[in-house]
């Protein structure tokens, strides 16, 4: 009797809970999913920097230190003086050009905040090996790019305390989106004078070829590559292609087999050595491991073989 009563109460209690609206997460406001990150986890990922300097880590770097780093890690794309190689972005110059027919938007002529430069170099540069620079290297390279834009003197030492106070000349010229900025009317008849229409034709010859090879002839020609070369293809794609596909900064183009033939006369070992340790050639500078020091020597060697053998 007593036992029966107990189980009745228990069953009643369970039913009560199961129909309680508090169990539906949307009503309670919280789902309780996810875990609290540790301070270390947040610190490792919280890399962003703001114009007021919030987010800058303690550190410093001088223009002088920056010059050497810039020439080794940045100049192959951005040019020795920030002028930009090929289609890679120029970083300096272009003062007072923003109203020109062909404006040059550089760090000095366009960017509103110096913090953006520090943040971007830290998160995304060098292009082939992002997030590999030390904090002091980021300060130093940032300082050097500011120096290339005549924004600081050559003896300047950039720190977490003085970066936010650097004035960028174009800061005041940005404003919040104020569109819509046109007011077209839904006219249906006699909307313009048909005799005054001038038709401008497109430039010829710059539309890319759109013909596609038949899928019956797949481009799997890798079988003729050596195993070393096949192993090097992925490294080439992620770390070398950027310069060696287009020939930026005097890099021998992968397709320019004549150049490679000449280079190979020194022997494959020399080529691999130059690629691994870096090399100042007649046409340009090969940074050590293409600037991506995270690559192993083996990966660099394989990539060199791929570049020699690939069509």
């Amino acid at each position: 009797m007593c036992n029966l009563n107990k189980s009745f109460v228990a069953a009643f209690f369970i039913i009560l809970i199961s129909i309680s609206p508090g169990l539906f997460a949307a009503d309670s406001g919280h789902f309780g999913i996810g875990k609290k990150p540790t301070n270390e986890e947040i610190a490792g990922w919280d890399i962003d920097v703001r114009p007021d300097g919030k987010g800058l880590p303690k550190g410093q770097g001088s223009v002088l230190q920056g010059e050497e780093l810039y020439e080794a890690k940045c100049a192959s794309c951005h040019g020795l003086f920030g002028e930009g190689e090929g289609r890679w972005p120029p970083l300096a110059g272009g003062e007072d050009s923003l109203t020109n027919d062909r404006p040059e938007k550089t760090v000095g002529s366009y960017w509103p905040y110096a913090s953006t430069l520090w943040d971007y170099i830290n998160r995304a540069m060098p292009f082939t090996a992002p997030k590999t620079l030390s904090i002091s290297e980021v300060y130093a390279i940032t300082a050097y790019v500011l120096y290339l834009n005549d924004l600081i003197e050559d003896d300047f030492v950039l720190t977490q305390d003085n970066l936010a106070s650097i004035n960028m000349p174009n800061e005041e010229n940005f404003y919040i989106d104020n569109r819509p900025d046109t007011n077209n009317a839904r006219c249906m008849n006699n909307c313009k004078d048909p005799n005054k229409i001038i038709v401008v034709q497109s430039l010829r010859g710059i539309t890319p070829e759109q013909a596609q090879e038949s899928s019956d002839t797949p481009k799997t020609t890798q079988s003729s590559l050596s195993e070393t070369a096949i192993a090097g293809k992925a490294t080439y794609t992620t770390s070398c292609l950027v310069c060696h596909d287009s020939g930026v900064a005097g890099a021998p183009k992968i397709s320019d087999k004549e150049t490679w033939t000449k280079r190979l006369e020194q022997g494959i070992d020399t080529l691999v050595k130059h690629a691994t340790l870096g090399f100042q050639g007649d046409t340009g500078l090969m940074p050590a491991k293409g600037g991506n020091l995270a690559l192993t020597d083996e990966q660099v060697k394989n990539a060199v073989h791929y570049m020699i053998e690939a069509e």
Partner: protein, 436 residues
């Protein structure tokens, strides 16, 4: 040694120098050549076969068996559709890692872009992210910072929406004049998918945004650490944390395993491979919202945070890739869209904008989604200047190019949404032109 003899091909020669390629390579090369000519012969044979497949003959595929189930476990399009692919404009960017490709909108039907054809935009290439090792962290001005696994994110209630995704540089090659003889290149930086994920507002409620939390920094896990500042209003309105598109998990190109999605806004704000959201009281003014994705005006000043994609439209048939043939009946068809809501009307002109007639909107008409318009047309073979003009539910009328240039000049790169003109020649061919 090898210098003395003339190489069969420079590739083989180089490989021999490097001592890495087996001696069979030359034979491989020859074999490939043979294969190629066999291929040619085969296609001629197929050409003959085609005529045998027409009535009154019984086609060969009606007299044989086809392929069995799961012969392609993940299906691919018919081999006859191999021209329907993404394409890029090689001279547009310095390389293919930080670049863009366009969707073949000239070939697509309806409003949904198949996953393999959604346009690509990378700032440091598409990373290969292991979902088990991927995390989304939300911190900053919140009461309860949280870090989520992909499994965590999928436990939240999900939503699905159909919205377009457009790069603000769509059409941007043509500010100064017409350049591209292809719809894919003039308007292909747009796609439209069903996106599935968790409302960002749900996650923000979970972490408890503090009163001074007005901005959200979204950051990707790619090499570029792609980052944008998003106003809290948008985050709480319709922003989604997306993990699926068109019914399957996100493609790597689209941010696998998780991305932010801001309906109606310029595509780069929908940060892919999303790893972190930080709540702050001010915007961050990062590179992709200062140096890039700001709109330079003729007075040398520049607009920032120009998020919305304004109403736009284009005729997709005919177009340079889809010319007309002989005179007769055709359907003028196209796409319209607005980042501010639904498309209300689309008008079509065949005389360069002197007179306009309303087109019919067909299929689904959804806010911030591609919308199809149609106008059946009996073509008498006369040359014509074809245009379309979108009007969205806010009453905004798509501007002419002259109106846009009068305000913005020709150097703002982004947000060129002006009325587009195709010149129809009497032979049915279409040329990309602009009107003054």
């Amino acid at each position: 040694m090898a210098n003395s003899k003339k190489p069969e091909s420079s590739k083989v020669y180089l490989a021999e120098l490097a001592n890495q390629v087996p001696s069979s390579s030359r034979r491989d090369f020859l074999k490939k050549g043979v294969k190629f000519s066999t291929g040619l012969a085969a296609s001629i044979a197929t050409g003959e076969a085609i005529s045998n497949n027409l009535p009154p003959n019984i086609p060969s595929w009606s007299k044989s068996l086809g392929t069995g189930v799961v012969s392609t476990p993940y299906g691919i399009p018919s081999k006859f559709e191999n021209n329907v692919i993404r394409r890029t404009v090689p001279w547009l960017t310095a390389d293919k890692i930080s670049s863009i490709s366009m969707s073949p909108i000239q070939e697509l039907k309806g409003i949904i872009t198949p996953n393999g054809l959604v346009f690509e935009r990378y700032h440091a290439g598409a990373p290969t992210v292991n979902p088990d090792e991927h995390r989304l962290m939300i911190h900053g001005l919140v009461d309860n910072p949280l870090i989520f696994t992909m499994d965590d994110l999928m436990r939240f209630p999900s939503e699905s929406v159909i919205n377009f995704l457009e790069c603000p540089a769509n059409g941007g090659m043509e500010w100064r004049g017409p350049q591209m003889e292809a719809l894919q290149f003039t308007h292909g930086m747009i796609s439209c998918c069903e996106w599935t994920g968790v409302r960002l507002s749900t996650l923000l409620e979970e972490v408890g945004v503090q009163a001074n939390g007005k901005w959200v920094l979204a950051e990707g896990a790619d090499g570029a650490g792609m980052s944008r500042s998003i106003p809290m209003d948008k985050a709480l309105d319709d922003a989604l944390i997306v993990y699926a598109q068109n019914g399957e998990k996100l493609r790597p190109e689209q941010g696998y395993p998780v991305r932010l999605f801001n309906p109606g806004w310029e595509g780069n704000t929908s940060v892919k491979w999303l790893r972190r959201l930080e709540i702050g009281d001010k915007p961050w003014h990062h590179r992709e919202e200062t140096s890039k994705y700001t709109d330079l005006m003729p007075d040398g000043r520049a607009r920032r945070f120009s998020y919305e994609q304004e109403a736009n439209s284009v005729i997709t048939s005919p177009c340079p890739e889809n010319p007309w043939g002989e005179k007769g009946s055709y359907e003028i068809e196209g796409l319209a869209w607005s980042g501010r809501g639904k498309i209300k009307h689309v008008d079509v002109s065949i005389d360069g904008g002197v007179t306009w007639r309303p087109a019919r909107l067909k299929g689904l008409v959804l806010a911030k989604a591609l919308t199809r318009f149609s106008l059946p047309f009996k073509w008498d073979g006369a040359p014509s200047l074809l245009q379309s003009r979108a009007i969205d539910e806010t009453g905004y009328v798509q501007p002419t190019l002259t109106q846009l240039r009068d305000v913005r000049g020709t150097n703002s790169i982004y947000h060129k949404n002006s009325i587009h003109t195709w010149q129809l020649h009497s032979n049915g061919k279409i040329k990309n032109v602009q009107l003054k």
